[in-house]
């Protein structure tokens, strides 16, 4: 396996300059996820509007390139989507990372698909799967508002 498949330029770029970083104004959902393996932590802020649309999605936290890029890309792709669509995208992402399945949804355009698939190399690196999935699990938890804390140990 080539490292360049894991560390694609798009990942390095998002890792270095994450989008949607910070606390968004008027968020009405949020959750914290952490990875006890390394101490990395992500805080996801979400504004669901009355139509249950993801109006704002931002994050704070620190982590490796994979984790930051994954989170940054997530915020880009999920922002503006409906609650249902957001959930579907998360599910497809998780399934891609775990089983290597393709991204089939019509809710993402080609550009967005390329972005999300840039993370598919992680599948080859089992110890890094948690880095890539933590924020996605945290997003679900924020949307569901069931628990405040997500812990990668449980959900994977």
């Amino acid at each position: 396996m080539d490292l360049k498949e894991l560390y694609q330029d798009i990942i390095l770029e998002h890792g270095k300059s994450p989008r949607n970083y910070g606390k968004c104004l008027g968020y009405n959902h949020n959750a914290i996820g952490h990875n006890p393996l390394c101490g990395d932590q992500v805080h996801v802020y979400l504004k669901l509007n009355q139509k249950k649309m993801v109006e704002e999605l931002t994050f704070e936290g620190s982590g490796c390139a994979i984790s930051i890029a994954s989170t940054s890309i997530m915020t880009e792709l999920v922002k503006g989507k409906s609650f249902q669509t957001a959930k579907k995208i998360v599910a497809e992402f998780l399934s891609m990372i775990k089983t290597g399945s393709k991204i089939a949804t019509k809710d993402l355009n080609e550009d967005q698909k390329i972005k999300i698939m840039s993370l598919s190399g992680v599948k080859q690196y089992p110890m890094r799967v948690k880095c890539a999935t933590l924020s996605w699990h945290t997003l679900v938890s924020a949307m569901d508002k069931k628990i405040d804390d997500v812990n990668t140990e449980v959900v994977d």
Partner: protein, 406 residues
């Protein structure tokens, strides 16, 4: 099932003791190990060694996966609901201490009662005794009858509203009594009392199904089921592991550590502090595979046949007394010889390379009840044969000769 073929998988039986073929009848103490287990230890240390969980490099990833595979195998082997219910400890004694300590912290106050039985091994009594010493709990002992059976109606009488937990062995390591734990668990659960089963002797001799038993806790020793030393198992229902406090504290069992606050990891890590017996747990997977390759049903029936054969033969020897006569019995026979102390029996048998155990077998309460200071114990493993029993009986005859018994 070809026992000679199975026996040949155990390297130790190619060894001679005092120039004689080893007749190993001390498996209840610790079983011998098949080559597959020993070789797995060897290959893991030689080719794959790494600690698990904490590192990202390939060796560690591999070790972590292999470790997890054993957990999955154990889950399947005892039919647990999920691998989060399988905790690795160093031995069954730690498994029971873990439960007594954490359950006690949370649920035992002065005057509360803990119900155990007269059959219990010290490892299923001393940990509860600590709660008596430190928390003012009361320990009640369900009595056995002359056959060595737990009298369920007597046990039931000892249950009352103060009873907080019942801890009972599944198979006595002295009399070989198979305890009807499922029945006890049913009774207990009707009164909302959790039950810990000491499965040290049942795991090597019976089919285990924790879902069917519906027990709350089940303790197993790896080294008694053809596994390496240093590995114990605690099965516990998830609801208990979630609600009880952690046991040992340290690396690997935490989530977040601050100067003023600590949160703990999810299951099963919450109960696995510090570096695990990594290689031993990984090799333990081979023990389970070995038992599965034999087939638990085959193992059970072989040992039943051997036990019956041995009982028949022993009974024909003058002055031999079998200890207990339980309704259901498996793999363990204790006996005395009138006029010869068990220690002397063991020494004399050893001269014929027959390895048995003599003493109280960590069951002083039971021996007190039986009015015996010590007994001699024969216990079987899958590798034992009728020939072993024949050699045992000859050695006992020799013992009688040394002591000039008629």
């Amino acid at each position: 099932m070809n026992i000679e073929n199975i026996k040949s998988q155990f390297p130790i039986f190619s060894k001679k003791i005092n120039g004689k073929q080893l007749v190993y009848l001390d498996s209840s103490n610790s079983s011998q190990k098949p080559a597959s287990v020993i070789n797995r230890l060897d290959s893991f240390y030689k080719n794959e060694f790494s600690n698990i969980g904490r590192s990202i490099h390939s060796l560690s990833v591999n070790a972590t996966n292999k470790f997890d595979e054993t957990r999955m195998s154990v889950k399947k082997f005892i039919n647990a609901n999920s691998k989060e219910e399988i905790i690795f400890t160093k031995n069954a004694t730690e498994s029971i201490n873990l439960v007594a300590s954490t359950f006690g912290q949370q649920n035992i106050k002065t005057g509360d009662e803990i119900l155990i039985t007269e059959l219990e091994h010290h490892s299923n009594y001393v940990p509860w005794h600590y709660l008596r010493e430190n928390k003012g709990a009361v320990i009640k002992f369900a009595p056995i009858n002359d056959d060595g059976d737990i009298v369920i109606s007597e046990l039931e009488k000892l249950i009352n509203s103060k009873t907080k937990i019942i801890a009972v062995t599944h198979l006595s390591n002295v009399t070989g009594t198979i305890v009807p734990v499922k029945e006890i668990i049913d009774i207990a659960h009707k009164k909302n009392i959790p039950v810990l089963v000491d499965g040290c002797q049942s795991a090597p001799h019976l089919k285990i199904d924790v879902k069917d038993l519906d027990c709350d806790f089940y303790a197993i020793s790896g080294h008694k089921v053809y596994g390496p030393t240093g590995v114990g198992i605690l099965y516990a229902k998830k609801k208990w592991l979630e609600q009880l406090p952690p046991y040992m504290g340290g690396g690997g069992m935490i989530s977040e550590v601050k100067k003023d606050k600590i949160t703990y990891a999810q299951l099963p890590e919450k109960y696995e502090a510090g570096t695990m017996p990594t290689a031993e747990v990984i090799a333990f997977n081979e023990s389970i595979k070995f038992m599965e390759s034999v087939g638990i049903e085959n193992l059970v029936s072989h040992e039943r046949e051997l036990t019956n054969y041995a009982l028949e033969k022993l009974k024909t020897i003058n002055s031999v007394c079998i200890v207990g006569n339980p309704k259901n019995k498996a793999g363990v026979i204790s006996f005395t010889i009138k006029g010869v102390h068990p220690h002397d029996i063991a020494t004399i048998l050893d001269e014929d390379a027959v390895a048995i155990r003599a003493g109280h077998h960590c069951c002083q309460i039971l021996h007190e009840k039986l009015k015996l200071n010590a007994t001699a114990r024969v216990s079987f493993g899958i590798y034992n044969t009728k020939e072993d029993v024949d050699i045992l009986c000859k050695a006992i005859e020799n013992c009688r000769k040394v002591f000039n018994l008629k």
